[in-house]
């Protein structure tokens, strides 16, 4: 049997490396478009200041991009190093968007980034602008491919189990690509990236404005960030990820867990703003509710119910029992008993094979699991409610705070009153961490909320790991934490240094520290 410790350490390593990677990705997604907008302004107006803006924010973009590339490398290979059984089991489907990400998007992005930095004197203005736009589009294409892969983990459609190869195999690529969960996730994630890029530029520009440095430069950057961020935050909220939670069985579990909906109530369900979920008693204490809201958010309707956790558990118990039958039939097929009757029966039951595999955590021989083991597996099918409930609310609160800041900033810059709102500048400066908090929390909701599965309803997490030892995992985990921490310190040091220095870092002779001979 697979040791629980190896499973937990593998999950921890994946969570740490993915969350760390996701500190850099959203800024790349958003800032690349902001650079493209700034450079378009330069090419259209011919004003040098827009070129300086592109180059300065581009410098910060580069510092961030370096760590994005570094940490992305780990993720491309971690499925193989630490999730070998997963890789074997679903590589036929999951590997495809990963391969295409390299071929279609990452190649373009990485090839053009060199020209973005070193091509200013070698390309015409329009050529360079085209590079910048392609860079932005390619980074967003990357996100699309990765989210198609991730969307399939949440809602695995277009694939079938093949007992001869003991793995999932694709049956329809168009279903995998046009997976509704993937599409919603893509829009939600890149829009979150736009908020991140915008908040970064807005906050740092506010810092210059508060210090009354390089005002012409900062106010233009502020205006672009405010408009772009306002559009971004509206998309994030309106096109929230939750709208994808009705597609796919396990997505429904996630929705119920995130909202601590224990019972299926008469639609439309109320939204719990605050409460203390208790998973043992299956109640939420001290709940403060807003009528109708959850039903509207979750189903975009007033007549569809949101299935509560209790009903989900009952349905899952049946699936587990069905999965045991499927597992028994699979053993017969594997032992060579491949008559038509066994095959036909297996075809009928195989959709619940994954639920049978949940029992592998408790017994090797799934078919004779005890009643007690079935109850344990049934309980496992719902992730821990309290952390999801809170993490989700932190994400939403960050989102609405950003909406407020971008909204006011957009109003202030449209009416040219930015300098009159010093409190807004302070707020924007201290709001810089907000989009990162929201993004990290969003990742936790999506992936922690997927437990106990790596592939929803198909492959349990505890079966997905490689056959390594805890010692191996401790060593690699320590290595990642150590190396990443070191790199993070270096990155933050450079980022702060260059952000404080501002456009003087370009050495054009036109900016604050160069004019008064100040030092940074």
């Amino acid at each position: 049997m697979i040791s629980e410790e190896v499973v937990d350490l593998s999950r921890l390593q994946f969570a740490i490396t993915a969350l760390y990677h996701f500190l850099f990705v959203p800024l790349t997604l958003g800032l690349s478009f902001i650079l493209a907008i700034m450079e378009s302004s330069y090419v259209m107006t011919g004003k040098q200041i827009y070129k300086d803006m592109t180059r300065f924010w581009g410098k910060l973009f580069g510092i961030n991009f370096a760590l994005g590339v570094t940490t992305g490398l780990t993720l491309e290979f971690q499925f193989g190093t630490n999730w070998a059984y997963y890789s074997h089991y679903v590589g036929d489907i999951f590997g495809v968007p990963l391969a295409l990400e390299g071929l279609v998007a990452f190649f373009l992005e990485s090839t053009l980034i060199g020209l973005f930095f070193f091509g200013w004197d070698r390309l015409t203005r329009v050529q360079h602008l085209a590079c910048t736009w392609l860079l932005a589009l390619a980074s967003n294409m990357s996100a699309l491919m990765i989210l198609i892969a991730n969307g399939w983990m949440q809602n695995p459609i277009g694939a079938e189990f093949n007992y001869e190869t003991m793995r999932m195999e694709v049956s329809s690529f168009s279903e995998v690509i046009f997976n509704p969960v993937a599409q919603v996730k893509f829009v939600h994630t890149v829009a979150a990236g736009y908020c991140t890029g915008a908040m970064f530029v807005l906050g740092i520009s506010s810092y210059y404005l508060l210090n009354r440095r390089d005002q012409a430069f900062a106010i233009r950057s502020f205006a672009i960030a405010a408009a772009f961020g306002f559009a971004g935050v509206m998309s994030v909220i309106v096109l929230g990820d939750e709208s994808g939670y009705t597609a796919g069985e396990v997505q429904k579990v996630k929705l119920a867990a995130v909202e601590a909906e224990w019972e299926t109530v008469e639609p439309p369900a109320a939204f719990t703003i605050f409460g203390l979920p208790d998973q043992e008693k299956m109640i939420t204490e001290h709940a403060i509710k807003v009528p109708w809201l959850l039903g509207l958010i979750g189903t975009r309707s007033i007549e569809h119910p949101i299935i509560g956790i209790k009903d989900i558990l009952e349905a899952n118990e049946q699936k587990i029992r069905d999965g045991m039958v499927a597992y028994g039939l699979l053993q017969q097929l594997k032992s060579g008993q491949k008559d038509d009757n066994t095959k036909a029966q297996f075809e009928r039951h195989k959709k619940d094979l994954g639920y049978g595999l949940l029992l592998k955590k408790y017994t090797d021989n799934v078919v004779d699991a005890t009643e007690e083991q079935i109850q344990l597996a049934k309980k496992d099918t719902v992730p821990k409610v309290a952390p999801l409930f809170w993490v989700f609310r932190i994400m939403v609160a960050s989102g609405f705070t950003m909406l407020l800041i971008f909204g006011i900033a957009f109003y202030a810059s449209s009416t040219q009153k930015v300098m009159q709102y010093r409190w807004l500048l302070w707020a924007a400066l201290y709001a810089i961490p907000l989009p990162w908090i929201a993004c990290e929390m969003g990742w936790i909701v999506a992936e922690y909320g997927r437990q106990p599965w790596t592939i929803s309803g198909i492959l349990p997490t505890h079966l997905s790991v490689s056959t390594r030892t805890s010692g191996d995992l401790f060593l690699s985990l320590a290595g990642f934490i150590g190396f990443y921490t070191l790199l993070f310190i270096v990155e933050m040091f450079l980022m702060f240094k260059y952000a404080r220095l501002g456009p003087s870092a370009l050495h054009t002779g036109r900016y604050y520290f160069e004019k008064i001979g100040g030092s940074a």
């Binding site: 059984y85 590997g95 495809v96 391969a99 001869e164 793995r167 270096v490």
Partner: protein, 380 residues
């Protein structure tokens, strides 16, 4: 020619080969230059010349590695799973070494402190030398077979250790890879620089070429007379659903020479590696590094193909359970996936090569100390 399953399985052997060869040619010279950085660049400005030779393009080159990894995942899932979980620490060593590169290139010249810069230079040295060496060691171990087996669920169990990879033949293969990529890096340096740096590069080409030739010949003899190759004795239909447990494999010294004895013209492949190395050394001496880069790239191609052809149709032979060995016939993904990936690659890889060529054309010309001084605030 119809694209049946059997044909696609062979094509994907070629495509994965092309991706790895592309990686070794393109990122190979970056790795070689990284290795040479502290030695050919004696002053800060000279080192900056080296960094800026590859600075604008190394990132795109690394994507060959990323894409090869993704393609391995999609086309040979069981190989991706077994090789990377088995070679756990070897792969992590490569990754950790590669981590130094993005930050090394981008951050090094952002501060003037010599200690800062020197530290990153050694980081970039590790980022070049370690992957070049460890990739070779991994190949050396593939040729000897790796200890792993499957249970009936097709879960793989690797029973070797990291230190077990550092056996004599593995290390020999590592040094072949290192010397080959140093040559590849040095010839590119000679092409893109002038003066003292180009002169030092010429020396590096000569010595790495000599060492490569000796080691490569030694490895060939060792492979033919000292190493157990693998041979399929019986297996089901080649277009069957892939399952690595359905065949019988035997091992025998010299079995890796089977393909060369069936098709003697295949000997041209290792011969090409040798002859092209000699050409590279000559062309470097004659100050024709442009042509030299092509011949050196052909050496790289020849070496990888030589290993690939020796093992064909094996990808990952198992020393502890030869019947579990992974071959192109029984470790590929489904017909539908291979076909979809085939068409994506046929469409997109030429596009990648086209815009990559355009970028190199835009960035053509030599990198000089003078140019570094003029762009001291923007260059790497």
């Amino acid at each position: 020619m119809t694209l049946d399953y059997e044909t696609l399985k062979v094509i994907w052997w070629l495509f994965i080969g092309i991706l790895f060869i592309g990686f070794a040619i393109m990122d190979g010279f970056d790795l070689g230059i990284g290795t040479l950085l502290p030695f050919i660049g004696k002053t800060d400005e000279e080192r900056r010349v080296l960094l800026n030779v590859v600075g604008p393009t190394w990132e795109g080159n690394q994507v060959w590695f990323v894409t090869a990894g993704g393609a391995l995942f999609a086309a040979w899932p069981q190989v991706y799973a077994t090789a990377f979980s088995g070679f756990y620490f070897a792969l992590l060593l490569i990754l950790f070494a590669l981590f130094f590169r993005p930050v090394g290139f981008d951050y090094r010249s952002k501060l003037p402190d010599p200690r800062w810069r020197n530290a990153w230079d050694w980081g970039l040295f590790i980022g070049g030398m370690v992957p070049a060496l460890v990739f070779g060691i991994a190949f050396g171990n593939l040729l000897q077979g790796v200890p792993f087996h499957f249970d009936t669920d097709l879960r793989s169990y690797y029973t070797g250790s990291f230190w077990g990879l550092l056996n004599p033949f593995g290390i020999l293969a590592g040094l072949i890879s290192l010397s080959m990529l140093i040559m590849q890096g040095a010839i590119y340096l000679q092409l893109k620089t002038e003066g003292v740096i180009a002169e030092r590069s010429k020396k590096a080409i000569f010595w790495s070429g000599i060492i490569f030739l000796i080691l490569f010949l030694l490895a060939g003899l060792w492979l033919a007379y000292g190493i157990d190759g693998y041979r399929i004795v019986s297996m089901g239909k080649l277009d069957a659903a892939p399952n690595p447990l359905g065949k019988i494999v035997q091992t025998e010294t010299g079995a890796w020479m089977d393909n060369y004895s069936y098709f003697s013209w295949l000997f041209m492949v290792p011969m090409m590696a040798i002859i092209m190395t000699i050409f590279t050394m000559l062309l470097s001496r004659l100050n024709k590094p442009g042509l030299g880069f092509i011949t050196s790239s052909l050496t790289v191609t020849g070496v990888i193909l030589t290993a690939g052809i020796s093992m064909y149709p094996f990808i990952l032979p198992s020393s502890s359970s030869p019947n579990s060995s992974l071959t192109i016939w029984d470790s590929s993904s489904s017909y539908m996936t291979l076909k979809a990936l085939f068409w994506s690659t046929v469409v997109f890889l030429p596009i990648v090569i086209m815009y990559t060529s355009w970028v190199y054309r835009v960035l053509r010309g030599k990198v000089t100390v003078k140019k570094i001084r003029e762009n001291t605030h923007t260059a790497y």
